[in-house]
Structure formats: C-alpha cells, structure tokens
Symmetry: C2
C-alpha cells in the first residue's frame, strides 16, 4: 500500500533530506518544499527529488499523498494550519519532531476532518546539519518512534510502520505522547545537558592532548545545533527540569559519600550502575 | 638500552597482564608475582611470562632490572617498603596507578638510595578486569603519562619513554604529580561520577529498547570496578570534589536558564560547548 504514494517533504534539512534519500532509494516519488534555494537545487542535482519549490506551491502540496514535515519544532503547527487548505482529502501528515506533547494534540485538533496527522520521531541525527550532510544510513542503528493517539487509524499506523521498514530503521516502536516525552527527557535531553555542562564547567581545551575515549564519548553530543535544541528543551521543560533535578541529587549524593569517605556507599553505587548498564549492552 | 633488561610485573591484572603481553611481544624477559595462582598459570600457559610465583620470591625480585607494579593503589606503598630489601642496586620501579599525589612522594622518600621510583599512568582500560581480559592493543589509542620529580634521573625518564614506545602508546607525556591529579580529576574521574550517577538517577532498565547511541556512549563507563575506583576517588578526593562542585554549578545554571526560558543564555551555552568540543576532535 506504500507503493505509488507521492511523498512531499517540507523542510529539507538533515532529517528531511535523509528521509528523502531513503525513500528515493526505494523508488518512491519524492517532492520537496524548502525556503532555501540551495537545498532544493542540491536535491534536484542529486536526483533525490523529482520536483521542488522554495515557495508554498499549492499544486505540489495538493498532489501529495503523504506530507512529511522536517521543519523546526516551532514552525510545524502553523505551517500545517495555514496550508491544510491545499491538501487533498485523506492526505497523511507526519513529522520528525523530538518532542510530542505540545505538537500532536494541537495539530490533531485544528486539522480538517478528512486529513490525518500521526506523530513520528526518528531517533537519529548527526552533529552537523543540512541536506548536504544527509545520509539515510543514520537510520540503520536507530529507533523510529510512533506516537499514535485515539485520533489515528490503524491504517495510518500500519502505513508508518511500512515507511519505517523501507527506511531500514532498526526498530519501530509505539509510545503514547506522554511516555515519549518522559523517555526522551531522560535518555536524550538530559544526556545533552550533561555533555554541554561538562564541556562548559571547565575551559579544558588545553587538556585535549590528555583526553581518553571516555571523555570524548561523553562529550561528543556537546556539539549541538543551538536553535533546534533550545526549542526542543523549552517544549519539554517540565520533564527535563525534573530529570535534571533527579540527576543533580544523585551526583550530590555521590559527592557527600566521597566527602564522608563512605566507601560502602560509593561501592554500592558502582555496583548498581554496573548492573543497570548491562541491560543496555547490545 | 631497554634490551636485555629483566622485567618483573607485580600484580597480573588487566593492566599488568597487558603490559606483560606487550613486553613479551617485543621479546623481553618477563617475570611475574601475583597472589592468584590462576593468573600465574594463565600467564605461563600463554607464554606471557618465563617464570612466576604466588609468593614473595626474593630470587625473582632480586633478579629484576625493572619492577612494574600493577597492584591496587592502596597496596603499592607497603609492597615496595617491605620488599625493597630484596631488590638489587639500581633497580627501576614504576607503576600504573591512576592517582599520583599520595603515592609518588611517599615511595620516593622511603626508598633505598640506590633504587629509583618513577610514576607512570597508562590511561587505558576496559570495563572488565583480570589477565584473562588483558590485551596490549588497549595502549594503541592511549596516553602514557609519566610524572617524574626532582628525584628522578633523565636516564629513567628516557627508559620509560622507550618502554612506552615499545608498548605502542599513542603519546607519551610528562606532567607534574599535581598537574596529573588535577587533570585526571576532571577528564577521567568526573566523567565516571557522571556516568554512574546518570545510570543511578533513574531505574531506566525498562527504557533500554529506546536508547540511542548518545546514552550508550555516555554510560559505557558506568560499568566499573567498585574496589579500584573507590580507592582512586579517595586518593584524589579534594580535586574530585572541586570538579564535581564546578560541574553541578554549571548544570544548575543551565537548569535555571531553562526554568526562566532564557533562550539566549541556553543558546550561548550550546555555542560555547560546540566550540570547545571541536578542540577534542581528532
């Protein structure tokens, strides 16, 4: 059922571009809209898309069966609201946004009755941005998380699973919007706060030559797109603040054990972390 | 000048064992003492050592030109103090201990006049221990840090550099004892506190299936030898407590920016961390 569908990618950045390339490899018809002329030209020159536009082309929007938003989190709700009038009945709309709470219910409640929006989050990325860095192989080790609600049809969920398989995601998982945002606050956003804070706590650039793998691994994600992540953090503010507090309490508890030279407590913490971390080996 | 030297490894664990294997590969004569019969049998069976003992064999100690301690940090001072009577004049003693302050000056001041101790820290390891997991290729990407003092001869420093080259370390660097312990508090020990605390802040094992590379990279070192690291942390207590405080202040500063929705401040932190992290790319 995925065959013969026309895909329109709105926002040809790293993720939108990687998805476009992945769909193209599977011989789908892919179109794109991006305000950046260079992104469209790049996609045309590399045969990633059949047709593209830097303006809101009603014809392009109207012929799509599936519209995938690769827009910044702050733009997606307004974009769909303003352009749904051009969409043909039964168009399926989806996205790549890393936080779901402030987006999914807003879109689903403003949407025309004959359109459907389903939230999707490809947990993949790079430390660089733009379609010039796009690469569908970033999906190979990654999870595609779908966040369907009671407004979604089983057909749309099944369709998105097919898309995930064609894009060669490692796993395709369904979570509620709330579960997704809580999980992402801990596993992804908190880890970014930690990496950024570790880099910023000390001007350690003169120490680069002594650095081992542990520090490099831990701070790799401190290279970060400041505009995107500021938006994502604000959208998940409550979850993230709770996770940061929880983490800081744990670090302070460790510090207190060290101050008191409480060896048993320190060892217990090492034993617990070792045991828990083993669940994450793959 | 390294040729024809007899090396005695005291403590055939992961590091002592890896060094023994690396020296053996370069055709050096390697001997070992370890209280664990299994470790000695393993080393003999795999042709890593020529001879080994589970007891304090005065003959074995007395024929060594170089004695390398792979003992736990808490044991090294006493071991040298009690066994220096068996060592022949001009024996060079070195170690692998991850903290230098409480060790180097103690050993150098109790040592016989005709012996020499030089501190060394191979910044290499694994999440598993024991000679059964030893592998000299762990030194390939790693730094060997030497911490010579005014008690050391240029000859000993040059000799240790030769050993480092034969063991194929990526870089061989000299630091003062104080510089070493400060650097290690930030780059290594603080990162371990962070990884352990991140694992312990939440019982996240049910989230393993959603985990991306960032979380895995950040928590890899949360699998940790609780006895060794408790000793190392206590030995570098002041430096580590200062680094933890500095890091917690930075995380709390980030949290405050998020609470106040201070986008400019958050972006500035992302820009700084991105810029700093680029110095660590190699």
């Amino acid at each position: 059922m995925i065959k013969d569908k026309k895909f329109l990618i709105v926002g040809l950045g790293l993720l939108g571009g990687s998805i476009a390339m992945g769909l193209k490899k599977m011989n789908h018809e892919v179109y794109a809209i991006d305000i950046d002329e260079k992104a469209i030209q790049y996609a045309l020159a590399h045969n990633i898309i059949l047709e593209g536009s830097t303006s809101l082309d009603p014809d392009l929007i109207g012929k799509a069966d599936v519209i995938l938003s690769g827009l910044y989190p702050s733009m997606i709700v307004d974009w769909i609201n303003e352009n749904q009038k051009y969409m043909k009945p039964h168009t399926l709309i989806t996205d790549v946004t890393g936080v779901k709470g402030p987006i999914v219910s807003k879109i689903q409640s403003l949407l025309r009755e004959d359109l459907e929006f389903i939230g999707a989050h490809p947990m993949a990325g790079k430390e660089v941005s733009g379609i010039q860095n796009a690469d569908p192989s970033i999906f190979l080790p990654a999870n595609l998380i779908l966040t369907p609600t009671e407004k979604n049809t089983q057909e749309a969920i099944d369709f998105m699973r097919e898309v995930g398989i064609e894009l060669r995601f490692n796993r395709i998982v369904e979570l509620s919007v709330e579960e997704h945002d809580e999980m992402i606050g801990y596993l992804s956003q908190l880890t970014h706060v930690i990496a950024v804070s570790l880099m910023n706590a000390n001007d350690s650039t003169h120490l680069a030559e002594y650095t081992g793998d542990s520090f490099r691994d831990l701070t790799r994600i401190a290279k970060i797109n400041e505009n995107l992540w500021t938006e994502l953090f604000l959208m998940n503010k409550e979850n993230l603040i709770r996770e940061i507090s929880c983490f800081v309490d744990e670090v302070n508890d460790f510090k207190e054990a060290l101050e008191n030279e409480d060896c048993e407590k320190m060892k217990q913490k090492f034993v617990t972390s070792t045991k828990r971390r083993k669940y994450f080996d793959c």
